[in-house]
Symmetry: C2
């Protein structure tokens, strides 16, 4: 399965590529690549797309992802909206739909209703047949148990053990794959973003909460209970700031949006940049002030970069990745401003060996990486069934 | 390759086990298991060992590791000694040899001479033919580049880029596999210790330095340049104690042997337990004082457990392992005393999901885990050549 994913990742990354080029890039034998490509062509996700001159011998077949085969849906469920996208199996967007979630709309049936409505909207507006859809990936906030698709814990909605997968399956007769935004973002970077062509990748997400998605050997690492990546709740300052998790000194309390607000509060308690009850407005104000050369905003960036650089250096020392991607809405708004300062702090705090090989970059994906990653889960789930297809279409994360 | 290792790990862990039991334990198909077992029998590492009643049908063949096939050598090179062991391919010890390294004997040719001497001693004292030896694993202190077998950096000897693999290959006409003690200990736990039957395992080693070996999906995780696991150089206290690596507040400065000495110094500067220039004597004195009910020693354990518990909780939150093993010479001497206190601190600092599933245990291996792990590298290297054997016998880490 891992090799099937690696081969398809190469086809997608390489656009028009040959079996020989894939074998060279993956260290798999040409025979293995030819076999896996055969399966992927049979499954309709890869097509023969032309030939290249092989310098005298038989011309070599070129491959590309199949833009006319099965389709995938990726849904990003956030605290304030539901956003669905319909993709080809080459993960090109065909349609999107979004519905706002009002603050009082946080019961599971209400959220399910919006998900179903968005999924139907992208399929029906594209006038494609439901049978062409290979699967639907759904990213839910909080902790998700993939088997059966249960929202184990969504702190902002106070959900505990809600069977979202079963509720969705009752409405949508298609294979469903549920997980959370950290996992979805990491898979999106691995297949389509800064992780393309790499095996060991860390994706740091900075938002209200923070986390670190770990991809190892070219696959998402989930841990024993799919909760790996809780970097936000590792200690940066022993006995430091109180975290909502009950511990003290967690990384999240220094570099998540509320942590950045606290950095601002400590530097300039009466700053007009501070919107005490509004994280988004505060981060937006910081971004605007930075652009205008405001010295307080610059100090907040320096202080935040000091915390973030040390915490990122810790990840580099422990995990020794090839690429570390900084993602999430806070990074979208402030990343360009603080990346050089973060890189400078990392250079002082990471060990020289792992520092030499790692690239620290901002998320290069221009569209919603959570929807894209959710759709990729559906693609991975479909690929897992290749060669062992059943006729059941309603299994939840049945791979 | 990963599946071949998983199947053999099951054979070794299960003693007399059937193909069906292995398939159930690994989630591989019975056909895949039968194919891999066939390869392992052909390679001489597994044998048919009898039959079990299958309840009416054809009796099922039972398998065990082959105690009479190829042999393996594992060498633990430490700052003060070289210790070699000869094993069957079931990793049972047949012979051992140890030579002391005097403090002035730290040039690469001197160390190589002791390694070669110990390897020859275990093979010749056992009166076995060199041709029966499948490979030699060597653990070297510091950072090791596996390809070619180069000691990239051994801080206590001030070695930089020493080609130990090539020097050993000139003397020993057998396949060589070089790595470091953290990696060797982790592989030993995974195959033979507390990691048996688990996929996601963390091995924390406590000595002069400290580290965390990561096994993910049943395989050792190495990172981009084989330096993954530098947990000792992650931050526990921002701007805390100065570390020899140049950073401040590293985990190692609180829970490595010199860190524990500092904990003692801060609690009781004039304590007779403190042997300022001798880590081993101080740790031994602490262990003896603890056994005698000394209150200062108890306080040192509590303080060390506070640091260690938080740093271990960080690993549990980030990695979400099934098992976390505490190993290393400091753990051998003090582990039983501080484990309950460490577990109590972890229980307060780890997130509830990952805490629920993780077992925190002391290293259960009674013999030298570094030699055992080094020999396991040789076994893994041999298995990598199964089905694609060449006649070259001197390649270094050629897999």
């Amino acid at each position: 399965m891992a090799n099937r994913f690696r081969v398809l990742r190469q086809v997608i990354a390489g656009h028009m590529t040959s079996r020989r080029a894939i074998a060279a890039a993956t260290d798999l034998s040409l025979a293995t690549v030819a076999h896996l490509i055969g399966e992927l062509i049979e499954a309709g996700v890869v097509v023969e797309a032309g030939f290249e001159d092989s310098g005298g011998g038989r011309p070599r077949g070129l491959l590309s992802a199949n833009a006319h085969g099965g389709l995938l849906v990726g849904v990003d469920v956030a605290e304030t909206y539901v956003h669905a996208e319909l993709y080809t199996s080459a993960l090109t967007v065909l349609a999107e739909a979004e519905e706002q979630l009002h603050p009082e709309e946080n019961s599971p049936p209400q959220v399910v209703r919006h998900i179903v409505s968005c999924v139907r909207a992208v399929i029906e507006s594209s006038k494609v047949d439901y049978d062409r859809v290979l699967g639907i990936g759904v990213s839910l906030p909080g902790q998700v148990e993939r088997e059966g698709g249960v929202s184990v814990f969504a702190p902002n909605w106070n959900w505990h053990d809600e069977p979202l997968g079963a509720m969705l399956a009752a409405e949508l007769d298609l294979p469903l794959y549920l997980d959370n935004p950290l996992k979805a973002t990491t898979v999106a970077e691995l297949w389509f973003g800064a992780g393309q062509g790499h095996e060991d990748v860390v994706v740091v997400t900075l938002g209200t909460g923070v986390g670190a998605g770990l991809a190892m050997g070219g696959s998402l690492y989930r841990g024993a209970t799919n909760s790996a990546g809780e970097w936000g709740h590792t200690t940066l300052v022993l006995d430091g700031r109180l975290c909502h998790c009950g511990r003290r000194g967690c990384v999240e309390t220094y570099v998540g949006a509320p942590g950045i607000m606290q950095n601002l509060r400590e530097l300039a308690p009466t700053s007009p940049l501070l919107h005490p009850d509004d994280q988004t407005a505060t981060i937006d104000a910081l971004a605007a002030a930075l652009a205008a050369g405001d010295p307080v905003a610059a100090k907040v960036v320096t202080e935040t970069a000091r915390y973030l650089g040390v915490a990122i250096a810790d990840l580099i020392n422990l995990v020794n990745p090839e690429v570390l991607v900084v993602s999430g809405w806070v990074a979208t708004k402030l990343g360009e401003a603080f990346l050089p300062e973060v890189q400078a702090v990392v250079a002082r705090h990471a060990l020289s060996g792992p520092l030499e090989v790692v690239d620290i970059v901002l998320c290069p994906l221009v569209r919603n990486p959570v929807s894209l990653g959710a759709a990729t889960f559906a693609l991975e789930g479909f690929l897992a069934t290749v060669g062992a297809r059943t006729h059941s279409r309603t299994a939840v994360n049945s791979s």
